[in-house]
């Protein structure tokens, strides 16, 4: 009896272990402390308020301020850098306790967030490419303007859109937006005054054409009515660092220097080798995240897909219906929508936080699993019906016949599809950068936000994907041979 169930037991053990690993990873951070612990989100690139410094650690005015306040007020936090718009929504859905991301206090936002003491005065400015010859907003008529999703600057730009007659397009991070303008894909960008000026100071080839408008202030935000204790701590801590001069020191530190001082030697940016050396740790950790997502994703998706695929061929109408519904839904949904739904949508319904990596793995499992289920069902249906009849007529029970006779033949038919799906899974992990997982693609985005080396960094990232795919393909071929010879 033992032998029959070993494979089932083994796979079950594997699933529980992996799930345990994920849960364990996300909870150990605050297991050993009695201080209150919070999950706080920030933008991925919003220098000088938040950007990646050396070794991939986030630095900037917001970051240093938050860390000084946490020390003063005795709380700990886990920082989740994610696209601003997703972070802002994540706070509302309960995924994060608070956001500090150069977030302008507006009446609309005040309806859903509670803001702490305003900590930085700002205005909105527009910039164009110096080559464009544009000197004033009136010249934008009929042209496209680049905006960052969900920001106060975007809202302001839209409010004057009719007056100046421009079209708008949206980006998720400041840097891609600047590049769109610098490369001529958009005519102008609107951004907060200190952020845009800082970027230009650091080498972004843009020219400011307006005075700061629609002056506002940045605030630390929690969901309205929630996390009152955290907000009080922030305000008390902010007052303290303002009083003792820490705050002014932080601001002076960032506004007085180039990003390169925090992020590494700019000279290294001019060669691929230099970029690789300088960002070695980040590339490696991005690659490891991508590999983790891919491998765990493939394992879970295969288990899920085979189960759902087998349900499509068992002689039971309910199982058929269930299987085809699952395939229909999860194959039909775009991966990105599914990821957002699980990461941001579900927690706002259930009130339970899901770590990004778990949300990412669930997304991959469901989406890739649905594709696997479809070709598993197809492969099993392809096995001649006479095989099942012959096995059953010998007295083999249905599942034994399935496992010993149908599956081995079906799986052989499916191997090319499996290899294909594994490669697709690897590539699909890049989409998960949208929910803030710093995998290889997001690593590229973040590094470029610092050094503006678009071509070189994307070249490196592309090569790394190709290397992983090559390795995976070799592995698959080896497995295929082993299977085929059996």
């Amino acid at each position: 009896m033992m032998k029959k169930h070993t494979w089932l037991k083994a796979s079950w053990l594997m699933v529980t272990m992996l799930l345990g690993l994920i849960v364990f990873n996300t909870t150990t951070a605050h297991a050993d402390t009695k201080e209150p612990h919070y999950v706080i989100t920030t933008d991925t690139t919003f220098a000088p308020f938040e950007f990646q410094g050396q070794n991939g650690k986030y630095v900037g005015i917001d970051m240093d301020m938050l860390s000084a306040i946490a020390k003063k007020e005795h709380f700990t936090y886990k920082l989740v850098p994610i696209a601003f718009n997703s972070g802002a929504q994540g706070v509302l859905s309960g995924q994060f306790d608070a956001i500090i991301a150069g977030m302008t206090i507006t009446p609309e936002r005040q309806q859903v967030y509670d803001f702490g003491t305003p900590y930085y005065k700002t205005g909105i400015i527009a910039a164009v490419s110096p080559k464009s010859g544009i000197t004033d907003l009136n010249q934008l008529r009929g042209k496209t303007v680049a905006l960052k999703t969900g920001t106060g600057s975007a809202q302001y730009a839209v409010s004057i859109q009719k007056k100046y007659g421009f079209k708008v397009t949206y980006f998720n991070d400041s840097n891609t937006m600047y590049n769109a303008v610098a490369l001529g894909n958009a005519a102008a960008a609107f951004e907060d005054d200190p952020v845009m000026k800082y970027a230009i100071k650091n080498g972004v080839k843009l020219k400011i054409i307006t005075q700061p408008a629609n002056g506002g202030e940045y605030g630390f935000a929690v969901k309205k009515g929630q996390n009152k204790e955290l907000l009080a701590k922030f305000n008390a801590g902010y007052a303290a660092i303002k009083k003792d001069g820490t705050y002014d020191k932080i601001v002076a530190k960032y506004l007085g220097s180039n990003e390169a001082k925090f992020s590494g030697d700019a000279k290294e940016n001019n060669s691929i080798i230099g970029l690789l050396k300088q960002n070695k740790n980040q590339f490696i950790s991005g690659m490891i995240k991508t590999l983790q997502l891919t491998i765990f994703g493939i394992v879970f998706a295969t288990i899920f897909g085979v189960l759902i695929g087998v349900l499509a061929v068992v002689p039971n109408k309910f199982a058929h219906g269930f299987s085809s519904t699952v395939i229909y839904i999860f194959r039909g949904l775009p991966l990105l929508v599914l990821a957002f739904f699980i990461y941001i949508g579900l927690p706002s319904l259930t009130g339970t936080k899901i770590p990004a990596i778990a949300a990412g793995l669930i997304t991959l499992t469901l989406n890739e699993g649905a594709y696997i289920a479809a070709f598993v069902a197809g492969g099993l249906k392809h096995v001649d019906a006479g095989q099942m009849e012959a096995a059953r007529s010998l007295g083999l029970p249905y599942w034994k016949a399935m496992r010993k006779v149908i599956m081995p033949q079906g799986i052989k038919l499916m191997i090319p599809s499996f290899v294909n799906q594994f490669i697709i899974t690897l590539k699909d992990t890049s989409i998960l950068s949208a929910i803030g997982i710093i995998e290889l693609t997001q690593t590229g985005t973040v590094i470029i936000s610092r050094n503006m080396q678009g071509f070189r960094v994307w070249f490196i990232v592309a090569m790394m994907y190709l290397i992983i795919i090559t390795l995976l393909t070799f592995l698959a071929k080896w497995a295929d041979k082993k299977f085929a010879s059996k």
Partner: protein, 245 residues
């Protein structure tokens, strides 16, 4: 004495299409029953209901006194006792010849691996294929495949064997080797129910010939009775066509 196989008023429909319209048949132990008739007459469907590869619509089937249509019958146990040979062999292509034969006895805990292999080799010898134990089914001719399929069915040591047109998919020169194995089996006293178009085999081996047409048994008797003196007009017509070519 209880009949080995006892079928009472068996009906089978696919939607509105009734293919078995009330079949009654009793088969005694050690009896060889050959079923003949035109294509579409229901004889294969009938054979397949005997181990419930086809679910009967109404009626009852009893094998060794066990009612197959009863809900609490362990169908897998009953099937272990009924060997079946298919027109298209249905050997398992991913297994060797010997593994094809030993799979069921090992998986069902009937025999240890060593015992099953010993029996398998003995059966292969009996069907004249002792040298093919490690071959894959794709390396065999049609006739060899069908002999392996018979050995596979025999490995469960059944007391009844069902043959569903076992020679119809074979090249003519290979029919003889399969029929010889079947004849030997009959001589050893196996209870056999055979659907076939081989009239020679029916004449020589059958204890009883059953003629199917339009979902009914139209004629039934010894080979001499059925072949030499059929009473039913459909049987006369059919035999006239197949015997006088």
């Amino acid at each position: 004495m209880v009949a080995k196989v006892s079928v009472t008023d068996l009906h089978k429909s696919y939607g509105d299409n009734e293919v078995l319209k009330g079949i009654n048949l009793a088969v005694e132990a050690n009896e060889v029953v050959v079923m003949i008739g035109p294509s579409g007459s229901g004889k294969s469907t009938f054979l397949r209901t005997l181990n419930k590869l086809e679910e009967p619509t109404t009626g009852s089937i009893a094998i060794d006194g066990i009612d197959l249509t009863a809900k609490d019958t362990n169908l897998n146990k009953v099937r272990e006792n009924i060997g079946m040979v298919f027109q298209h062999f249905n050997l398992f292509p991913h297994l060797t010849v010997l593994e094809n034969i030993t799979l069921a006895p090992i998986e069902l805990g009937k025999l240890s691996k060593a015992e099953a292999q010993e029996l398998g080799l003995k059966l292969l010898d009996r069907v004249g294929l002792a040298d093919k134990a490690t071959a894959k089914p794709t390396q065999l001719s049609g006739g060899q495949k069908q002999r392996v399929a018979i050995a596979r069915a025999l490995a469960m040591q059944p007391s009844i064997m069902l043959f569903d047109e076992p020679t119809s998919a074979l090249d003519p020169e290979m029919v003889g080797e399969v029929l010889k194995v079947m004849r030997d089996l009959a001589e050893d006293g196996m209870t056999m129910i055979v659907v076939t178009h081989e009239m020679g085999f029916a004449k020589q081996v059958a204890d009883r010939v059953v003629f199917f047409a339009d979902g009914y048994i139209r004629e039934e008797g010894t080979p001499e009775q059925v072949f030499n003196n059929p009473q039913d007009p459909r049987a006369q017509d059919f035999l006239n066509k197949v015997l006088n070519v």
